[in-house]
Amino acid sequence: MSQEAFTLRLAGVRKDFGHRRRRITAVQPIELEVRSDSRLGVIGESGSGKSTLARMIVGLEKPTAGTIEFNGRPVVDWLSSRTGRLEYRRRVQYVAQDTSSSFDPRQTLFEAVATPLRFLCGVTDPHEVRSRLRRIADELALDPAMFGRRPHQLSGGQRQRFSLARALVVEPRLLICDEVVSALDVSVQGTVLNLIKSYVSRHGMGLVFVAHGLPAVSFISSELIVMKRGAVVERGNVAEVLAAPSHPYTRELLSAYSGPDPVSLEAAR
């Protein structure tokens, strides 16, 4: 298991959507650094640009301005060649909110999870594929028998854990989670969050965790940035931000979560 260190640096990254008159700036120029030991939480309401930020890091969207560098090399550069793209994808993986279409309905989960292994790590030997899948199933507490199923035969929580398996099977150095628990039941949310947290700390990898709910973010991350209308309005250590929020929007967020949160529920069980 490689424990290589990395640095991801965003400098003046901006993203606009639309043309000319109907131009909307989704992400205002942002500076950010993510390291191998970062647990960065990104929080904000819907439309605050947090998902766009996550998608830009993995290269699903191209920044309008600014550069994103991974280990000193621009991501655009990584993605421009085939080998570079494969290397970058092996190091940086992305999991999105669960939808019914996050898996190809015609493939079994085995095929879906084995695909990145085959293309990104070059693992084609059936024995090795099987043992790697068994290992990841172990770590994410998945029943290996379910690999033979098709996506519509699973519940949302199971599907989301298979999404995680698909991303983590290549042993990336950085995991980007985009609203991974938002669509799940509260009880399932806790399980998934715990899995992510323990996996990330066990493998000493970086994490960018995007969510709109404060409890999940505060549970899983050590640093925090708060976004509103595309701009970062607050950043810092989680404990410090929670203790002394400086921006009115953060205060508003904090006061909105006075009820029981899923993590403490999970802990109480």
């Binding site: 993995v58 699903l60 085939r82 793209r85 494969l86 994808r89 092996r90 993986q93 992305y94 999105a96 939808t99 019914s100 279409s101 996050s102 898996f103 190809d104 309905p105 015609r106 879906a112 695909t115 990145p116 293309f119 990104l120 029943d143 028998a145 379910m146 033979g148 199923r149 098709r150 519509h152 035969q153 699973l154 519940s155 199971q158 999404s163 698909r166 991303a167």
Partner: protein, 306 residues
């Protein structure tokens, strides 16, 4: 859009417990197609005479020996009609397969090119416009022109008919691809290191061929119609070949004199086969979800899904 997709995925599961292969419905839907294909395949066994040889006197009325009578050169009309099914089915299946395969490839290319950049987008857009214009050409007229330029042959007929009938699968596949290309699993495929070409063939095409495949019986039927029409106006297959349209037109002058059997029997066969295929092409999409459900019923060892 999303809703129909969800229900298409979820319905089979909801019914899974008691899904059996719908024998009755499937048989009824496929029956006309199967009968026509069987007649075509077994033509040499069914037909009592050689369809392209003079076997008796000319213009004999239907009798025990010659069920549908004989034509103006003494060939057995019944044998010719039966072998006519062979010509129709051979063309129909070839055209349906070619048009659907080409249509799926072109439709996928157009669908994936839209909203992409550069030369691929320009090419896809151009193909889409070309297809729009070709739809405007009446099928018979296009076939006349193609046959006129290439000379009469099976190949020119095939190209002419495929060119008109390929437009429907192109449009159907394009619509599906435009839906599929927004699905999250394509992003996942990209993140998993799959190339665009592989994603197109492994994920996009299998998930968007449904409508084009269900359109195949319709293409088959249309092909039979166009082939008969071309044969009828004299631009179809060459002379002694037992083709229905040509048989109808060559018997016309005898029809005026009251010798109806040369024309009427092939006309009845065209009529019945077109209606039969039309019935199948409407019935198959109706039973298809149940057939698909019967195949994708999850295995017995379903564990608790909680």
């Amino acid at each position: 859009m999303a809703e129909t997709h969800v229900s298409a995925v979820l319905l089979p599961r909801a019914r899974a417990a008691r899904t059996h292969f719908p024998w009755g419905g499937a048989a009824a839907a496929f029956l006309p197609l199967i009968v026509i294909v069987l007649v075509a395949v077994l033509a040499p066994l069914i037909a009592p005479h050689d369809p392209e040889k003079t076997v008796a006197d000319t213009r004999l009325a239907p009798s025990g020996e010659f069920w549908f009578g004989t034509d103006s050169v003494g060939m057995d009309v019944f044998s010719r009609v039966v072998f006519g099914a062979r010509i129709a089915v051979r063309f129909g299946i070839t055209v349906a397969v070619c048009a659907t395969a080409i249509g799926i490839l072109v439709g996928t290319f157009i669908g994936l090119s839209e909203r992409s950049r550069g030369i691929q987008s320009a090419l896809g857009g151009a193909l889409n416009r070309v297809s729009d214009y070709i739809v405007a050409i009446p099928d018979i007229i296009l076939a006349i022109v193609v046959v006129g330029i290439m000379g009469a042959s099976d190949l020119s007929l095939l190209i002419a008919i495929v060119l008109t009938l390929v437009q429907a699968p192109i449009k159907l596949t394009r619509m599906e691809v435009l839906r599929v290309r927004n699905e999250a699993y394509l992003e996942a495929a990209e993140l998993g290191g799959e190339s665009r070409a592989r994603a197109a063939f492994v994920h996009v095409i299998p998930n968007s061929i449904g409508p084009a495949m269900r359109n195949m019986p319709l293409i088959f039927g249309n092909c039979v119609i166009i082939l008969a029409s071309l044969g009828f106006i004299g631009v179809g297959v060459n002379a002694p070949t037992p083709e229905w349209g040509y048989m109808i037109s060559s018997g016309l002058s005898d029809l005026m004199l009251g010798e109806w059997w040369e024309t009427v029997f092939p006309a009845v066969f065209v009529f019945l086969s077109v209606l039969g295929i039309a019935y199948s092409s409407r019935a198959i999409p109706r039973v298809w979800p149940r057939i698909a459900a019967a195949f994708s019923t999850p295995s017995k060892k379903r564990k608790n899904l909680a």
